[in-house]
């Protein structure tokens, strides 16, 4: 492996030094966008970003190995379905953080997804999401947009979030909506009042289209281009929980990776030059076991990978403190050597123009997370 622990640590030290100067960041005049894609079910980091430089993988999962890999460096590649991401990699606009996870090791989807969104350490304790708290800190009320039907926990914690997931049929006339507003006001229903205000002020771009990820991501790229519109978009992809039929180049996991790639492709093509002011980042609750199980699938694991794209990335790189496959976490999972929350915080710092330390303190309760802003993002 070329990617040694040492080179990784050197990178971290440099970052710490810059972070330690505590320079106030300049407020940006351009609108920067953050797009989050939540991968529910537990994405297998070793399928999305296969390790080339570690032959030991063959002994663990003979039927899940990829025939084709899109090479990134001597150690890692992309799954063949991530072809857009690979093109962006060649342009210096795609990166990976590997062997990373939120600090949660109990392997429950639902507790894990809760923590992936709250950024907390105890399931269900926090009622707001790390991104919602970040937006609140940046005073960006009304700039969150979910391309999902429920408001994801990730965005909660700030008022006036919007979501878009078009349905057919027509709204009641505006007079009736106003009358409902009066009823909510009279009943002191603050939350309903807030929602109806968001509904009444929806921009014209939030019309038409359908509920497919293809249509939603095309729509999102239009909405994000609006200089006064939302600057945060959140997508959900479900179905990464491949206990059986995970497949390799094709199969359960491949289909899901193709969906990620499609969203990125639509955003890249749709955002045009605004793509350079955009960062796309994936979340998942955990990775999957290194070894395949009895059903050509994998079980719930620990370490996974974060996929990133966009012009706000400093360069194309695989950032990892690679733990190797000799010593697995609890003898089954890829270790996580990077607390993913450090990446989330650094990404917010880059997009929301907030200092990392400020985010660390106000969004992540001063948790022990590392600053990767300098290494990963243009600041």
């Amino acid at each position: 492996m070329n990617c040694t622990r040492r080179s990784f640590l050197q990178g971290s030290l440099a970052t710490l030094f810059v972070g330690g100067l505590n320079l106030p960041l300049l407020a940006a005049s351009v609108k920067k966008n953050l797009v989050i894609i939540s991968l529910r079910g537990g994405m297998d980091g070793l399928t999305a970003v296969p390790v080339i430089g570690d032959p030991k993988i063959k002994s663990y999962r003979s039927e899940l190995l990829l025939d084709q890999k899109l090479k990134l460096n001597s150690d890692f590649g992309f799954h063949p379905k991530l072809s857009t991401l690979h093109n962006l990699w060649k342009k210096g606009k795609a990166s990976v953080v590997h062997a990373t996870s939120i600090p949660y090791t109990q392997r429950s989807h639902f507790d894990g997804q809760n923590l992936m969104e709250t950024g907390g350490l105890v399931p269900y304790r926090e009622k707001t999401g790390w991104l919602g708290r970040g937006l609140k800190l940046a005073n960006l009320d009304g700039s969150g947009l979910a391309l999902t039907l429920p408001m994801p926990l990730l965005l909660r914690g700030i008022e006036q979030n919007n979501n878009f997931y078009p349905a057919h049929n027509t709204m009641p006339r505006i007079e009736i909506v106003k009358k409902l507003r009066t009823a909510y006001e009279g009943a002191s229903e603050k939350k309903l009042l807030n929602i109806i205000d968001v509904i009444m002020n929806r921009p014209l771009t939030m019309q038409g289209g359908d509920q497919s990820l293809d249509s939603l991501s095309k729509k999102a790229s239009k909405i994000l281009q609006d200089p006064l519109g939302p600057r945060i978009a959140v997508f959900d992809i479900e179905g990464f929980d491949t206990h059986s039929g995970q497949g390799n180049d094709e199969g359960g996991h491949a289909d899901k990776l193709e969906e990620i790639d499609m969203i990125i492709k639509n955003l890249y093509e749709g955002l045009g030059k605004e793509f350079d002011n955009t960062l796309i980042l994936t979340l998942t609750e955990f990775g999957r076991t290194v070894e395949q199980n009895g059903g050509y699938g994998t079980e719930h694991g620990y370490g996974s990978a974060i996929l990133m794209a966009g012009g706000l990335l400093k360069k194309s790189q695989v950032l990892t403190d690679w733990p190797g496959l000799n010593k697995l976490f609890e003898n089954r999972d890829l270790q996580s050597t990077v607390d993913a929350r450090g990446i989330y915080a650094s990404a917010m710092s880059a997009v929301l123009d907030l200092e990392f330390e400020q985010i660390k303190k106000n969004v992540f309760w001063n948790s022990d997370i590392s600053n990767f802003s300098e290494q990963l993002f243009k600041t």
Binding site: Y165, A167, K179, L180, Q292, G294, H300
Partner: protein, 487 residues
């Protein structure tokens, strides 16, 4: 007080009189299993498994024959889908469910049935939502509501749908007879454990993570579950019947949450092992607490206090987990705390409540559904399915095995509220499904009637509804006013 009929049921229609003793009205519904309002023969789990079997075997043939030409393949596959009713059964089953909720005279029981169907969710996989969820609700959940929680867990855990959607057929003991044979025959294929079902049995169905089980407990639970699998045969392919297959069962002792099974002293082996483990799980303190809290969250508030939860736990302990007693205790707690706490309604009960109070019919009666193989179901036949999907609550199609949450935060987003307004705007068009002689006259008196019956503070509600003039707009106001969105 009148709020209670909506809190635990679907509200009172304009024809109904207000029951004198609301609590007795609710608890009496749990004295015996109320029959379904739709008494015609309905598809069974076995009927639907047979359809599924035909579907997957014929699909293989189509793939073999037309697989090279994507267009023809897609066309043939669509034909097959209509032949087997893939687009028919979900709407049909939803129609039965809503017909029953509105007409069988036991709305509190029906709400509870829906609760358990969601607690033991079958997430969307291999058309389970189309062919299987309805029969599963009738065969695994409903009859168990007259038994103990433990019996319900056994019924559900060994049901075809649960085993299928949580991959337990792939869960094979590496030291079982079959496991050893498979793993020593020299080919690449190796078999082993699949933790999916074992984990969810602990986490979602019984003790919850509060029991602090470990990864070892999960692995042992998976071992206990080995053998409970669909029986493979050439004819059935992977749609075989569910049979306990000892040759797949992992040998040896298993330890779960501090208890040991199949030791030298207690030889609990084979299929009996699962029953013994389920018994202990259902008697675990965390299980009672988890379920009691979830019931309070469903009917009363997102953040129930210990005082609300305790009487349900006590009823559980006293009756040894007898569900009718647990249900009655829940009704009582909802009665006592109902006025102080408001619960935001999930879309499905909201829709059914509106249908009941406003006297519209958003579905076809089950009597109008006739399954004709090959026929493409008309749009209006599937309307109920689209409504629930658009409202964000396709009850037979949860995307994950934890089902739908009833947490208010999940249901209050702009888009979801838009959907409620959009569909409330349609409600008036659903009157055409009702025979003229049964239709209401939507005059002021009608709205006064239902509002005085169903709301503890009717004045505000009346003011809100009467601020609009047309029936259509009054429906929109009614359905979306805070008094109806919350109970």
């Amino acid at each position: 007080m009148n709020n209670y009929f909506r809190k635990v049921g679907f509200g009172l229609s304009y024809k109904e009189t207000i029951p004198e003793d609301p609590l007795k009205w609710a608890t009496d519904q749990f004295n015996s299993l109320p029959p379904l309002s739709w008494s015609e023969k309905l598809p069974s789990v076995e009927d639907q498994r047979e359809i599924f079997r035909q579907y997957i075997t014929e699909k293989d043939k189509i793939q073999e024959k037309f697989g090279k030409d994507a267009m023809i393949y897609e066309k043939e596959l669509n034909k097959l889908r209509h032949q087997k009713g893939e687009k028919f059964f979900q709407a049909f089953e939803l129609s039965i469910r809503h017909h029953n909720a509105l007409n069988n005279g036991a709305p509190a029981f029906e709400r509870m049935w829906h609760f358990w169907g969601n607690h033991f969710s079958l997430s969307d996989k291999d058309f389970i939502s189309d062919w299987h969820y309805g029969p599963y609700m009738r065969e695994a959940i409903r009859p168990s509501m007259d038994k103990t929680f433990e019996e319900m867990v056994v019924e559900v855990t060994t049901s075809w749908g649960m085993i299928h959607h949580l991959d337990n057929t792939d869960n094979i003991g590496p030291n079982s007879q079959e496991g050893r044979r498979e793993n020593s025959d020299g080919d690449k294929r190796k078999v082993g454990l699949n933790e999916n079902h074992g984990r969810e049995l602990l986490e979602l169905h019984t003790v919850s993570p509060a029991a602090n089980y470990t990864q070892d407990d999960v692995i042992n639970m998976a071992k206990v579950l080995t053998g409970w699998a669909k029986k493979w045969s050439k004819k059935n392919s992977w749609a075989g019947p569910l049979i306990f297959q000892p040759e797949l069962h992992e040998m040896g002792q298993k330890n779960i949450l501090g208890k040991s099974y199949n030791t030298k002293e207690n030889k609990i082996t084979g299929n009996k092992q699962l029953f013994a483990v389920i018994k202990d799980l259902c008697n675990h303190k965390s299980c009672r607490e988890f379920i009691a809290k979830k019931l309070c969250q469903h009917f009363i508030t997102d953040e129930p206090s210990q005082e609300m939860i305790d009487p349900i736990i006590q009823a559980w302990v006293k009756s040894d987990g007898f569900l009718p007693e647990i249900h009655k205790a829940t009704m009582k707690v909802a009665f006592e705390y109902g006025n102080k706490h408001k619960k935001f309604l999930m879309p499905e009960p909201w829709l059914i409540q509106n249908a009941k109070m406003l006297n519209f019919k958003h579905y076809w009666g089950p009597d109008r559904y006739v399954f004709k193989p090959g026929k493409i179901p008309p749009k209006r036949e599937r309307n109920i399915q689209w409504i629930l999907e658009d409202l964000g609550h396709p009850v037979f199609k949860p995307s994950q095995p934890n089902g739908f949450t009833d947490n208010e935060e999940e249901w209050t987003s702009p888009e979801l509220m838009i959907r409620r307004m959009v569909y409330a705007n349609q409600f008036q068009t659903y009157l055409k499904n009702i025979r003229r002689e049964n239709q209401s006259t939507y005059d002021d008196e009608f709205f006064e009637n239902i509002i005085y019956k169903n709301f503890s503070n009717p004045e505000n509600a009346l003011k809100t509804v009467f601020s609009a003039n047309s029936t259509q707009n009054r429906f929109v106001m009614f359905a979306n006013m805070p008094e109806v969105l919350k109970t």
